[in-house]
């Protein structure tokens, strides 16, 4: 199963171990969440080495990733950089023809986010380009980003080229993809990357479905906006 996987030069033995942990979640969201947090922390450290000194980072996350993968990324970046958070509730669905859309229904943008000059787009797995693309589009006209990091533990091998193709060159030239593993396989029916992160992120994290279609409020947002 893992033969179709290629690791990036960033992936350490420990990262590979945590990627493996994602593939064996067996009804254990707690372990899964922890593995995601650790992977986020590791990815954040790598991004931190690439971010120019004195930069202000905006970590952009889906609601489901906010408390785990993105939390780890934020924790690492916060050590060295002023870091804000943007969290989006995307309603991701397929249209009747082949395309899919992921409109943002609810959002949290940490006050002062506009001063950021580095965007760090975080996603637990990048299969197509839909969600990542939407979340970049939501911010590129209000944030003057010099660098755009696209950060994920696992990406499909075609995603980088596909995402670059969907943006004008002046935007895609700013993209820097930071990931641990590239998978070549994808389920034709669901679009799910194989082996990817072991299945659908919502169930694996113990959520009932997409946060936009429920009442899920990440602790990260609860703390930043409501306490």
């Amino acid at each position: 199963m893992v033969e179709s996987r290629e690791f990036s030069s960033y992936a350490t033995a420990s990262d590979k171990e945590h990627l493996r942990a994602l593939l064996n979640p067996i009804q254990n969201p707690g372990r899964y969440k922890e593995a995601m947090k650790v992977l986020g922390s590791s990815l954040g450290e790598i991004v931190g080495t690439k971010v120019p000194k004195g930069s202000q980072c905006l970590v952009v996350s889906t609601a489901e990733d906010a408390d785990y993968l993105s939390f780890g990324v934020i924790e690492s970046l916060n050590k060295e950089f002023k870091t804000s958070a943007a969290v989006f509730w995307n309603n991701h669905y397929s249209l009747l023809y082949k395309d899919s859309v992921a409109p943002i229904v609810h959002q949290y943008l940490q006050p002062g986010y506009q001063a950021s000059d580095v965007l760090v787009i975080v996603k637990s797995v990048i299969s197509g380009s839909c969600v990542v693309r939407t979340n970049i589009l939501a911010l590129i006209e209000s944030v003057n980003a010099k660098n755009i990091f696209i950060v994920s533990p696992v990406m499909h091998s075609a995603s980088e080229a596909k995402l670059k193709e969907e943006f004008p060159k002046q935007v895609s030239d700013k993209f820097d993809f930071v990931y641990f593993a590239l998978d070549n396989e994808k389920d034709d029916a669901t679009g799910e990357v194989k082996p990817g992160i072991g299945g659908q992120i919502y169930e694996l994290l113990g959520l009932t479905g997409q946060p936009a279609r429920g009442s899920y409020m990440p602790d990260l947002v609860r703390r930043l906006a409501f306490e």
């Binding site: 609810h106 986010y113 939501a138 590129i140 409020m217 906006a225």
Partner: protein
């Protein structure tokens, strides 16, 4: 070794050149389709914005039977038909030729005598501004009343179109009430999906109705039905409960937007119109509780996707 190298070695360089031409032809066809689709959608948005009262009377079709057939726009109220022949090229393929003149004059006769139109225009649509100018000079005097050459930019994808062709962005902003790029891109994707689903003749109203049905959330609303007043019970609640005073409510594109400290939750206006039962209302005393309430009311629409 590339595939071209393989074919060249196996079958010879002539066959390799043929293969390259076949591939180029396919790519050009694809670019041509994108060009036509972008133009059609831009026109649909233009008419919907500029003539909202006529959206049931203006019909758009692709590839109908005719000599000028790429895009046809017919206003049944005015009995007017405009046909476009699209040429996405800066080269000879986009030149006004004798064949163009012949086909345009035939189509003009068909429109007037077979379709019984009172007004018929034929347009050669090109993606190069210089080509438009040189073509203008080639249109025979006898056709000048009804035949034209127009320029429309070729953009490789929806995003480039939104960022390059400002009339479309302006029209979409007006039609949706949104300004942010992701929201306009979503609206454009919904319209592209509906437009690309069939070449059948449809009114602009039918196209927008279908795009509305595909949207979760819906972003297209009949402008005349636009309501920018938030539900009274919600406004009163925020006014009456001191702990909710930092919250802001507005209505954008028929969605209620509830904001607090960087957070923004939205729900369809209709979903929030019904006042909660007194027992439930009493529980809405903190910003987080109210945001959670909006989340719950938003679910029904989103779960239809």
């Amino acid at each position: 070794m590339t595939l071209a190298d393989f074919v060249s070695i196996k079958f010879g360089s002539d066959v390799a050149a043929t293969l390259k031409k076949i591939n180029q032809g396919g790519t050009n066809n694809q670019k041509g389709t994108i060009f036509e689709n972008h133009f059609a959608i831009s026109k649909i948005c233009e008419y919907a914005s500029d003539y909202p009262e006529d959206v049931s009377d203006i019909h758009v079709t692709a590839q109908e039977i005719g000599f000028v057939d790429d895009i046809c726009i017919q206003n049944t109220k005015l009995n007017k038909k405009i046909n476009y022949q699209a040429k996405n090229s800066a080269l000879g393929a986009a030149d006004w030729t004798c064949d163009t003149t012949t086909r345009f004059s035939w189509q003009y006769s068909i429109d007037l005598e077979f379709h019984n139109c009172e007004i018929s225009n034929q347009v050669l649509l090109v993606s190069c501004e210089q080509k438009k100018q040189s073509n203008d000079a080639k249109i025979p005097k006898t056709l000048k009343e009804y035949a034209f050459c127009e320029y429309f930019p070729y953009c490789k994808n929806n995003l480039e179109l939104l960022q390059t062709y400002f009339p479309l962005r302006n029209h979409l902003e007006g039609l949706t009430g949104y300004k942010r790029l992701d929201q306009l891109d979503y609206a454009l994707k919904l319209l592209s999906g509906v437009w690309g689903a069939t070449t059948k003749k449809r009114s602009i109203k039918q196209i927008f109705d279908s795009a509305s049905c595909d949207g979760f959330p819906n972003v297209f609303f009949n402008q005349t039905l636009q309501n920018d007043v938030a539900p009274e019970w919600l406004t009163m609640l925020i006014h009456d409960i001191p702990s909710l005073h930092g919250m802001n409510i507005s209505v954008e594109s028929m969605r209620v937007k509830v904001e607090f400290n960087g957070f923004e939750a939205t729900a369809n206006l209709v979903a929030l119109e019904t006042k909660p039962d007194p027992g439930d209302l009493d529980t809405l005393t903190t910003p987080l509780q109210l945001i959670n309430f909006v989340f719950n009311r938003a679910q029904a629409e989103l779960n239809q996707a």
